[in-house]
């Protein structure tokens, strides 16, 4: 069985500081991992994904994520947070042969001016 965990419901960070949103996963095969962002009253927007290769993945809006197989983690990071980054962030897992994404419960990021 596969699962995704986002251990923090809420993350607060000051504008200009680095941010991290955590994600861990469990899967029997090779994982495909995704990060999506959801702004109020809008659908999910794709940020980045890890398929294979370099463990550090760079995505939209200056975000990046590091795949760590030994720790089964895929934390989302950004060197300098913006107030406009405040949103709900979802980590998702796709497994070979599966027909859908498994989502974490989401982490609400608030960047404080």
């Amino acid at each position: 069985a596969q699962s995704v965990a986002q251990p923090e419901d809420q993350v607060n960070v000051a504008e200009g500081n680095p941010l991290t949103v955590k994600c861990t996963y469990s899967v029997s095969g090779n994982p495909y991992l995704f990060w999506y962002v959801q702004y109020p009253n809008r659908g999910l927007q794709f940020l980045l994904k890890y398929i294979t290769g370099d463990n550090l993945v760079k995505g939209s809006y200056g975000f990046e994520a590091e795949f760590n197989k030994s720790q089964t983690s895929f934390h989302l990071k950004k060197p300098s947070a913006l107030v406009s980054d405040s949103a709900l962030y979802f980590c998702a897992l796709d497994q070979t042969g599966a027909n859908n994404l498994f989502f974490g419960t989401g982490t609400r990021l608030t960047v404080i001016p």
């Binding site: 659908g43 027909n99 859908n100």
Partner: protein
């Protein structure tokens, strides 16, 4: 081309009524997915279409839920005899390939409120 579109954006209905939600995927995308997002929760998979293959209905919560897709275009999700617990945002996504590594692109969702 344009992204995934969904209609209506909001739907308020009375308990026991049927509702139809519509999704227009990105042109050329062969795979289409429906998810449900309850307030404060993550997304739950409902159903998946890939070309002319039989849909994967494993996520549908009850037989009151059904979905259709015409070829590789529009899909409709129907909820019969709606219940208050059906209140949620229903999200549609499409991708150019089936499952695996391909990115799913989401529509803005339909917010369903059952009174």
């Amino acid at each position: 081309g344009a992204g995934v579109s969904q209609s209506p954006s909001n739907k308020v209905t009375e308990k026991g009524k049927d509702v139809e939600l519509r999704c227009d995927p990105i042109s050329g995308h062969t795979a289409l997915y429906w998810y449900r997002q309850r307030l404060g929760q993550g997304l739950e998979f409902l159903i998946y279409f890939q070309g002319n293959s039989a849909p994967d209905k494993s996520g549908l919560p009850s037989d009151r839920f059904s979905a259709e897709r015409t070829g590789e275009s529009v899909s409709t999700l129907t909820i019969q005899r709606t219940q208050q617990e059906d209140s949620a945002v229903y999200l549609c996504a499409s991708s150019s390939l089936a499952g695996g590594a391909d990115t799913q692109y989401f529509g803005p969702g339909t917010r369903l409120t059952v009174l």
